[in-house]
């Protein structure tokens, strides 16, 4: 009985894995088609990309550095989806987390370890607090989170640009905010990977534990699965939604923190926010490829971090604008939006030995 359950579970996981792989393949083929249309050599481009991202150890460490914030913004979206919310506000919450880290990490003088902890917690809370207006608007006024979170993203964009320009600008270099002080930096492991990666993984594991091993997480997922049933079961929907937004905001805040306190060589935010922009949206693709599961998201982030890091080699060697990896991410999401995609493929290429079951 137990064995049967286990094998069913494994089969389910394998099916999900196959679906994600199929979507990734569709995305890569779509990217190749886009390159071919404009006469780029896509074989050369992809070769440069994957060799750059995974070909050697220091490249892989850099890939992990790119993956670090994506794991967190992916988690933001995943926690939302698990509780029935389409929370696409990770972008703005991440900006707030980053500026929070700049305020404490760059402007204050504190003893070493305390400084790092305080800056991290402050940044995470800044992200979480920025998620609350969307939660409150949804609960009390029924404003859909798709609109409210995007509006909050833009308000955060202008607020953070203002703060960088007028309040935390680096006196030495006007185009960026004050870098985090030595006492507020995570240790460098190699390339631009720092120990914040470990914290991010730990946060994911805690999120997993919270979602699947606690009553709170159970309630959250019940609300996501069937809101009516949750209401009949006496679950406080408003409270669950608040929790979901708050947890997601903490994760997005940590994503922002990781770009300031855990990302050499700059350890800060640029006034254009070039080193932050789109990390929140990329998390959506990461979460969907990782099937909204904390562990899946870690692997999806490493894959997508590889695309981001390798994209620079692709640009250098094949002349393809590295932004195409974002287009590939979009195609992957579109492919994942079609639940029947895998069945469709099975119908076109039936497996001969087992027929069309499964």
């Amino acid at each position: 009985m137990l064995q049967q359950n286990l094998s069913r579970k494994i089969r389910k996981t394998l099916k999900k894995l196959a679906e994600s792989m199929l979507a990734v393949a569709v995305g890569l083929v779509g990217g190749a088609a886009l390159m071919a249309v404009y006469g780029y050599d896509f074989v050369k481009a992809y070769r440069a990309l994957f060799l750059g991202a995974f070909g050697d150890f220091s490249g892989f460490l850099e890939t992990l550095a790119f993956a670090t914030p994506l794991i967190m913004t992916g988690l933001t979206f995943a926690i939302g989806m698990r509780s029935g919310l389409f929370n696409i506000g990770a972008e703005g919450q991440m900006y707030m987390g980053a500026i929070g880290a700049v305020f404490v990490g760059g402007m204050l003088n504190l003893p070493p370890i305390i400084h790092l902890i305080f800056a991290t917690v402050f940044g995470m809370l800044a992200g979480a607090i920025w998620s609350l207006p969307a939660a409150l608007l949804k609960i009390s006024r029924g404003v859909h989170e798709v609109v409210s979170t995007i509006m909050l993203n833009w308000i955060a964009f202008w607020l953070v640009t203002y703060l960088i320009t007028y309040h935390v600008a680096d006196p030495a270099r006007a185009e960026r905010a004050v870098p985090a002080q030595e006492t507020a930096r995570y240790l460098v492991i190699g390339a631009s990977l720092t120990t914040v990666f470990i914290l991010v993984i730990a946060f994911s594991l805690i999120a997993y534990f919270l979602l699947w091993r606690t009553t709170l997480g159970y309630e959250l997922r019940v609300v996501g699965h069937n809101q009516e049933a949750a209401r009949y079961a006496g679950i406080n929907i408003s409270k669950t939604m608040m929790t979901s937004f708050f947890l997601g905001g903490l994760a997005a805040g940590l994503a922002g923190v990781s770009q300031v306190l855990g990302r050499p060589p700059h350890w800060t935010v640029f006034a254009t926010m070039g080193n932050l922009i789109n990390i929140g949206f990329e998390g959506i693709g990461v979460a969907l490829v990782g099937r909204n599961h904390p562990i899946g998201i870690i692997f999806a982030s490493i894959f997508y971090g590889g695309l981001l890091h390798g994209g620079r080699f692709m640009e250098f060697e094949a002349g393809v604008a590295s932004e195409i990896v974002r287009a590939i991410n979009g195609i992957i999401i579109l492919a994942l939006a079609i639940p029947a995609a895998l069945d469709l493929v099975k119908k076109i290429f039936p497996r001969k030995n087992r027929g069309e079951t499964g």
Partner: protein, 331 residues
Amino acid sequence: MKPYRLRVLWLLIGFVAVAATIYAMSFFGLKPTRLIEFALLALTPLAFAAVGECINEKSGQINIGIEGIFLISAVAGVFWAEVFESGLLGLLMGGVFGALIGGILGLLNVYGRAEQVIAGMGLNILAIGLFQYLLMAIWAFPGIHIFPRTLVVPRISIPLIGEELAVSPISLAAIAAAFAAYLLLNKTLLGIRLRAAGEKPESVDVAGHSVYRVRIFASMVGGFLAGVGGAFMPLGWFGGLVKEITAGRGFIALAAVVFSGLNPLTALAATFIFGFAEGLAFAVVVTPAVKEAVPFHFIMMLPYIVTVAVLALFPSTRRFPKALGKPYVRE
């Protein structure tokens, strides 16, 4: 009072507030006509997209990828405008590309039974990357493209209470589109079929028409209008392409749709309020007396704050189509 009448009353109050703001701004040396000109420009892409999305949602589909259509059709519009050396043809091609994207989304919705919100977000993210990739691939310059000023669709002069108002004919077309959509939805056979596809798709099937075709058609119309709106931003307004060109307008249009309860005329009115907030921001940013007092960053927040505030103050009271967002499966 019926909730809907109440909503119209609130809209009227909104317009009075707009008029009062225009009057107040005249003390800062801002001419009322300038403000209305800005507002009408800002209204145009919002109105096109919102009207299109009203039609699309009436047929039972949601498209949150308007922002993505804006971005892609802006590039396509400029590209073809340069090829044809005509801004108007560029706008049309922007619409054609929008319709193509809408058609693809419709196919995914109908045959792929897609989760429409996720598909729309995929389109948005695809467009962010594609926009910058295309700028490099076509014009070999990163992030920005400026084209000859002659390609911008010229504005025409309309007399208004003793003043001259420079209005883009495309803005007038956007307003006309809202009325046309209202007539299409409420006074034609096709409109009945469209609404039925959103309310009770089986009934369309029983009547011998294809739900699939109706929905794909609606998605294409919505895409076409959003495409024209997207191409309008470079070709009728800014005179160039930058990667932040849409600045969340696709979602502001979506907010107008939610507010309107899918009535194209109410949606038009809502886009006027949102457009006015944006126009006010643009106008105030260049006004000396205000520029010194408030950093422009805060003024740029205005459209987003107004959008959220309007949705928070007036939660949607009208019923949305029963089959909204649900794929139709023939039995």
